[in-house]
């Protein structure tokens, strides 16, 4: 049997299938709608959530070390909160009291690991105190609230003499103090953390500050409402001027009740500094109103760290509803203008909504949640579903005219003729995105499965339900159908097609694409795996998060931890002087890197204790040389501390400790360099009783993710293109078809990579899935045009004429779908989340480049190479009799 016979048989089968779908419309429709209703129900159960563990490559050795020791030495989810005074220094009673209370408030934030807080106001930050009789005791820097200027001066003296505090938790200019807290990964709740830090940690001490400490919730009774009771009033403040006293209950601000400290701070914070407000307080049984002037905040609080960053992202995630609303309305107007009919606006929406329910419902079904950073993805897939529907609707109108206004014949013909490009387009998109599963990161694997399913779900609405929907919708007026073939849009498409297919046009097209490819190939050399800038690329450079992050880095040198574990072979390995000397050498070695701010290890404690033990003589600030001396020094420092406190430095059996490097940023190339330097040192400096293990902390896990991306990026691209090639090969039964369809896509890919490098967008776990989906989506335009060329050459027998007709018919619909997709995706550039804005913009450009390549480069390549798999169809040319549509007439 010849290929032509097979093709004719296929087409007959498709016409038969279209007829049967209409015949059995009721059971099919009921079934599809019932399943859609179920998925819709699941869709509304969906939540926005980020599971930190899912973002990590769990099989990577760095992540395994991170998982093993995160609970002990600290993980990647730290917040850094910097309290900075506007004038003077932090060593005043009210400021130190607030630092103490802020530390307490941080300790009460949900998910904080109570033993992994570093602050001069926390019990675990200790200094050595020499007592009478030669005893040394390790005591907390602040044991309670300072009450007098002498207390403040004493704390200043302690800070200045403690190496592990000065410059690390208090800035060298005495203007800022740092509070670091580590979160338990399993209890991360970004939204809650964000709110609690804003309401309980920041507001009461800055915008809500009136010069008095106000008691918060009792940690032992978290569910009970605790009234705002004044604890301490400071001199020279509005609270003191109003003669408030300890024990007063603050009941209302300007008549608005303030049932607790949070509400009080919120109400005070509503008024600009200098505003007079009425404060009602209760002393004993008597309530009184006093007038106070809201003071300008004398301290500023800056917060950085991953949980805070994601908090901001969640805070901005509400943008999605605005973007959805505007996109929907804009697309409806565009489609109505194109089709001159509300059915043309409605039908693609039905496809998009049904596919979205199937996709989102499936996300919930497999126990996955939506990350606010991948919200562009559902929009992109829905836009793709809508694009397929626009193609089908346009073809339906064309066939309606061709079949002398016979609705049923038009429905079946549109279904059968577009089945091949639609189905192969969906398959290439769905299987193309599945290659993301190669990366061993749970989030990416789940995402690949969801995206693939969602894209496949388009077949349900677009192919199964579509003929039935058309059957039930009243057929359009012939005037409406004819109107599509008139007007400026049709004229523009005809004119551009003529120019494109003219001899000078073809040369211009080739020169343009060769030049663009050359630029892309040159620019993409700067593409970075990981983050390309010190600031977080997820939010804008001038966003509150990045401003805080930059300011903390500037004040404290580096705050992003790289934790390298010194894993002992046996207990007491960390008392071995050789191991400790190597750890110290390691610190000095890696601190030479320009992006490492400072480091900390057990040896810092040893050196300080040893020096204090020897009357603060600097020459004794060294690691002791014998196991006995080391053990004794440890005993001095840790004797009064419970294991829960000491384990953040060393395990209770002294087998394992860590060296933590605080890096200035997490730029992809810097992480790679620092890790390479660390590995080099470890290889050159083996320890007898322990081994260095890489790596925990934010830098460690990002390094692991970047390594996995580098390892799989090339493979993913190869497999992605390979998958699409195989599907095209089966669709058109020609390798040449694969080459001519993938060539424009390949060029688009190079150009986009070049653009990413130029715009400073790195390849990371957030960008990768979007980029991979973009690759697959670019091919759909080409599929519609190529299929139409083949279809037309069977009628006209002439390749050039067929290309011309294809560009004026399917090409016109392709251009309109591209306009819709580009406009819809580009709206994301208005998002407050920089990542979504940049990815939306980038994907819009990608869709545009793929579209231009399909409309210009693809036809020129077909015309130039005259592929056999198309030309052989010319032998079957037999002009359609009496059914010449106006579109073809207009094109020819």
């Amino acid at each position: 049997m010849s290929m032509e016979d097979v093709s004719a048989q296929d087409k007959r089968a498709l016409y038969w299938l279209g007829e049967r779908l209409i015949d059995y419309r009721n059971p099919i429709m009921i079934l599809v709608l019932a399943v859609t209703a179920l998925f819709a129900y699941w869709s509304f159960q969906l939540k926005l959530e980020t599971s930190f563990g899912d973002l990590l490559p769990q099989s990577h050795p760095f992540v395994q070390i991170h998982n093993k020791y995160a609970g002990t030495f600290g993980g990647a989810n730290n917040i850094q909160l910097m309290v900075e005074v506007k004038e003077g220094n932090i060593f005043t009673v009210p400021t130190l009291a607030r630092i103490y209370k802020i530390t307490e408030a941080v300790d009460q934030v949900y998910g904080v690991n109570h033993n992994q807080i570093d602050s001069i106001g926390h019990r675990t930050t200790r200094y050595l105190r020499a007592q009478s009789g030669g005893f040394l005791r390790a005591e907390p820097v602040m044991i309670g609230l300072p009450k007098t200027p002498e207390d403040a001066a004493n704390i200043r003296r302690i800070v200045h003499n403690t190496e592990s505090v000065y410059g690390i938790l208090v800035s060298l200019d005495d203007k800022a103090a740092l509070v670091r807290a580590n979160f338990i990964e399993q209890r991360l709740d970004h939204r809650r953390t964000f709110t609690e830090v804003n309401e309980r940690v920041i507001a009461p001490f800055t915008t809500g500050w009136i010069g008095a400490l106000v008691k918060g919730k009792d940690p032992l009774k978290p569910d009970e409402v605790s009234p705002a009771v004044v604890e301490v009033v400071y001199r020279g403040t509005p609270a003191a001027d109003a003669e408030l006293k300890a024990g007063d209950v603050l009941e209302a601000v300007n008549g608005v009740p303030t049932p607790d400290r949070v509400a009080l701070a919120r109400e005070i914070g509503k008024y600009a500094p200098g505003t007079e407000v009425s404060l009602r307080y209760k002393r004993g049984t008597e309530s009184k109103d006093v007038s106070i002037k809201v003071p300008p905040p004398d301290i500023e609080i800056f917060v950085a760290g991953e949980p805070r960053l994601y908090g901001w992202v969640y805070n901005y995630a509400g943008d999605v509803f605005w973007i959805f609303t505007v996109t929907w309305c804009m697309e409806w107007v565009l489609r109505w203008m194109y089709f001159h009919d509300w059915r043309g606006a409605l039908r693609p929406s039905l496809t998009g909504v049904i596919a979205a329910f199937w996709g989102l419902g499936f996300v919930h079904l497999i126990g996955f949640a939506l990350d606010p950073l991948i919200l562009v993805m559902p929009f992109l897939i829905t836009a793709r579903a809508v694009s397929h529907a626009i193609q089908m609707h346009d073809r339906y109108y064309e066939e309606y005219e061709r079949h002398n206004w016979n609705q049923r014949a038009a429905i079946v013909a549109a279904f059968a003729e577009l089945f091949v490009p639609t189905f192969s387009g969906i398959l290439t998109d769905a299987f193309g995105v599945l290659v993301v599963m190669l990366v061993p990161i749970v989030m990416l694997r789940k995402l690949a499965i969801v995206a693939s399913w969602w894209i496949l779900a388009i077949t349900v609405s677009e192919m199964l339900l579509n003929p039935i929907v058309y059957y039930y919708l009243r057929a359009p007026d012939p005037d409406v159908v004819m109107a599509r073939e008139k007007g400026w849009y049709r004229n523009l498409i005809n004119r551009v097609t003529d120019m494109n297919l003219s001899r000078p046009g073809r040369v211009a097209v080739m020169v343009f694409w060769v030049a663009l490819t050359a630029w892309g190939a040159f620019a993409m050399r700067g593409l970075i795996v990981g983050d390309p800038t010190a600031a977080s690329p997820l939010v804008f450079e001038d966003s509150p998060y990045n401003v805080s992050h930059a300011h903390i880095q500037e004040k404290f040198g580096g705050v992003e931890p790289l934790i390298i574990v010194a894993e002992g072979h046996d207990r007491d390995a960390m008392k071995d002087p050789q191991a400790l000397h190597t750890m110290e050498k390691f610190q000095r070695y890696l601190e030479r890197d320009r992006d490492v701010g400072y480091s900390f290890s057990l040896t810092d404690i040893l050196r300080t204790v040893n020096m204090v033990f020897h009357e603060l003589e600097p020459k004794w600030g060294v690691v002791p040389n014998s196991v006995r001396d080391v053990g004794q020094t440890f005993f001095i420092f840790f004797a009064n501390s419970p294991p829960t406190e000491t384990s953040k430095y060393v395990t209770p059996d002294y087998q394992t400790a860590h060296v933590t490097f605080f890096c200035r940023n997490h730029k992809g190339d810097n992480i790679a360099r620092i890790i390479a330097e660390a590995q080099q040192f470890i290889a050159d400096n083996p320890m007898e009783k322990a081994t260095f293990k890489l790596a925990g902390g934010l830098i460690g896990v990002l390094g692991a993710a970047n390594q996995e991306l580098v390892r799989n990026d090339l493979m993913m691209n190869a497999l992605g293109f390979g998958t699409m090639f195989i599907i095209v090969l089966f669709t058109y039964r020609s390798a040449m078809a694969g080459i001519i369809l993938l060539l424009p896509l390949f060029i688009s890919n190079i150009v986009i990579n070049g653009m990413m490098a130029t715009l400073g967008i790195g390849v990371n776990i957030n960008t990768l899935p979007l980029v991979t989906v973009g690759v697959g989506f670019g091919i759909d335009y080409g599929l519609y045009i190529l299929s139409r060329v083949i279809e037309e050459i069977r009628v006209t027998g002439d390749l050039e004429e067929s290309i011309h007709i294809a560009l004026c018919t399917s090409g016109k619909a392709v251009s309109f779908t591209a306009v819709c997709m580009v406009a819809g995706t580009a709206l994301w550039t208005t998002s407050h989340i920089r990542f979504n804005a940049v990815m939306g913009g980038l994907l819009a450009v990608w869709m545009l480049i793929s579209f231009i390549a399909s409309e210009t480069l693809l036809p020129v390549i077909i015309s130039w190479f005259r592929p056999k798999f198309i030309l052989k169809e010319a032998s079957r040319a037999s002009r359609r009799k009496g059914l010449q549509p106006s579109a073809v007439a207009a094109a020819s």
């Binding site: 509400g318 509803f321 959805f324 309305c329 107007v333 409605l346």
Partner: protein, 43 residues
């Protein structure tokens, strides 16, 4: 202004219904005009 899920859905539904009604009105007028023109021609 904050926009939630349900307010967003309400807006797009109302907008879509508005487009459908507007389109029907436009086409009804066009048919009516065409009908009048046709009727005029027979007289």
């Amino acid at each position: 202004m904050e926009l939630g899920l349900w307010s967003s859905i309400t807006i797009v539904l109302l907008f879509s219904i508005g487009v459908v009604i507007m389109d029907e009105i436009i086409h009804a007028r066009r048919r009516k005009t065409k009908g009048n023109d046709g009727a005029g021609g027979t007289h």
